[in-house]
Symmetry: C2
Subunit: 400 residues, 2 copies
């Protein structure tokens, strides 16, 4: 079967998280993604990891997670020969993605205006931290910093906690998704009209747009969110919406009709709270009352009772339990690929199905410059010239 982006070439200057996530999504649907890395050391993210631990000696799980379905060319893009190669690749590319600080690509001779001259139909996406201009132009833009400035860090947990970081790289990943959204719309438009264009995304705007519902509320309802002191699951929501301790774990109850929940809990005196305003105003107290009941049975017992009443409930899984969840197994969420150095690694599958053009994982994350010879041969460089470039430290090729 075909893939939706088969035949599309992506020239990827991005590193760390947001850009690589975006280009990986293009690769997942069949695009040929050429990852440009620093010769020798590669993407900065290769040098960062969790727990100060590494896979197969020196491979980073952070890097490996966001760089499947790509080929790597490790090259000194400031050298004359490097520039010649980049221009040749740009001439054949459909999409360019970069996430340097604003202005860097232009200084290197690879800005939109430069590459448009070589390839007028190019779609060029620059993904920055704060925007391509403005007061924070020169400041470092990074996920946790953007969580902080965008208010996202003040939306989880309890008010008395102060800021609570969201455990995923929320802003990076949402901007990766927004970059793909804009790039694919531009690609469709180019297919119809022949016109390329420049796209500029940034972490800050994406982080705020992701909180669109909260901001709409704060700005138009004139009431500010105050996080609850209990495990109510959203600062704007009434009881019972939240997480409840059971005798062996946690049960989550989402919006559910109060009388039905009272029936499930088996204490009809709780009907005194059957009023939307009371359920909001006294949510912390009501949470405590419910939890005093939920701790008396196991999560599975409550699920059986409550699902039978079509209450909106689910159990809480720790990340380490998720791969054994029956629906996760059914959905084929985790698959294995063979990595040249690390052997079999488990990766997260493409999270949706397309009947005609399925996503596929055809490559693990590359070694640094692993595909240098292959990519340069495709451009017509001879084996000898390639050897010379390795000797002159213009490119580097790592093999397992």
């Amino acid at each position: 079967m075909d893939q939706a982006l088969k035949g599309i070439k992506v020239l990827d200057f991005s590193q760390l998280l947001q850009g690589p996530f975006a280009t990986q999504m293009l690769g997942d649907l069949g695009a040929d993604v050429i990852k440009i890395e620093r010769n020798g050391s590669g993407d900065i993210y290769r040098g960062m990891t969790f727990f100060n631990q590494w896979i197969a000696g020196d491979e980073s799980p952070c890097f490996m997670a966001w760089n499947r379905n790509k080929r790597s060319l490790a090259i000194n893009i400031k050298s004359e020969q490097g520039k010649e190669i980049i221009y040749k690749l740009a001439k054949e590319a459909d999409i360019i993605v970069e996430n340097f600080r604003p202005g860097v690509m232009t200084r290197l001779g690879y800005g939109y205006e430069d590459l448009k001259k070589i390839n007028p139909g190019i779609i060029y996406c620059s993904a920055s931290g704060w925007g391509d201009n403005g007061p924070y132009l020169t400041r470092p833009g990074q996920d946790l910093l953007v969580q902080s400035l965008s208010g996202a860090i003040m939306t989880s947990g309890k008010k008395s906690d102060g800021p609570v970081a969201i455990g995923t790289a929320l802003c990076d990943q949402v901007n990766g998704l927004n970059s793909v959204y804009a790039i694919l719309a531009a690609l469709f438009y180019r297919e119809k009209t022949g016109k390329g264009q420049e796209i500029k995304t940034n972490l800050l705007s994406s982080a705020i747009a992701f909180q669109m519902q909260d901001y709409f509320t704060v700005q138009n309802l004139g009431q500010t969110f105050e996080r609850p002191e209990s495990k109510i699951g959203h600062p704007g929501n009434p009881a019972p919406f939240g997480m409840y301790q059971t005798s062996d774990g946690y049960l989550t109850i989402a919006m559910s009709p109060w009388p039905k929940l009272v029936e499930a809990l088996g204490d009809s005196s709780l009907m005194e709270y059957d009023d939307p305003q009371l359920l909001f105003d006294q949510r912390d107290k009501i949470h405590g009352i419910i939890e005093a009941i939920t701790v008396t049975k196991t999560t599975d017992e409550w699920l059986e009772i409550m699902l039978a009443l079509d209450l909106w409930v689910a159990k809480v899984n720790d990340q380490k339990d998720v791969e054994n969840d029956p629906q996760v197994i059914h959905n084929n969420t985790f698959v294995e690929v063979e990595h040249p150095k690390a052997g079999k690694v488990k990766v997260t599958n493409i999270p949706f199905t397309m009947s005609e053009t399925p996503g596929k994982i055809t490559r693990p994350s590359p070694m640094i410059g692993e595909h240098g010879e292959e990519i340069l041969s495709e451009l017509g460089y001879s084996r000898e010239t390639i050897e010379n470039m390795i000797n002159e430290n213009i490119i580097s090729i790592e093999k397992a």
Copy 2:
């Protein structure tokens, strides 16, 4: 200027959050989105809100946030005449989006196989909670429930907190973004080949894929994340990565070279911790040591000192302060639109720029069935027939 999706027609059966967010993104880039609502009461989300408070009497900020750039047709889709209208709209549509529980659309006669007969090139996206099949098929799928089952709820805050809900509708919104990613790739493919297709997305798979980096680590490094007990900002990261109290608020410090940070803090004895393993193992203790220093100055004072050393720092904004942040003002993040009932409302702008086909906000969220007459006239129905349909309760039209 053009818009990228100008001329594309979306027939939108979705309600609540994930589906409407997806179709709003298509509308933001120029698609003509026809929102199909229940005649009379409309989208279920119109009846849900925060704080039990409403805008202009009975408008929900939750609904309003996700339904700009759409026209509404409120119609009984089970009636014979309703079905005739839906089939006519489906014949002209490019994209169908729905997020009923799996099987509902087929039972109504609007499944992919039904509409494909009418319109072979249709792109049909079904967005479910858990997947289109499997053990949780009949269970309610909702954002907080999916946060719980996917492990996302165990990644923020402190370990001793137990589950901590992420303050935005993370799973709904990420699946909205993934649906748009798949739909636009399918649209590009159709433009090249003429072939439509069926897309199936679900909240659970999107929630897990969004934690791709964490899962890659847990499954391949063989070490499980344990959340810190201090305000270290990620369970896998060492000090100083986290949030620190200052004399007037909070300062966030992301990955920064330890010697430079020690210089900024002005206590060279801290160089004893200049070791990646120590910075991870003793992160909670080190967080406390740093915070004892940061509380002695204001956030702005620390920003001045630390940004001069190119340390990765930012201040923490509460959501209510964000609209006054100078970069947010510069980015034109919030704009006003005129709503027929609520008057001027502030909305979050499209979070990126496209040089040739900019996103635009041309309509506020619609009233229930507001565009019924206009849409039915376009299909060729006479004013008299439309009046009859209103009288027979097949459609309803709300005006301000």
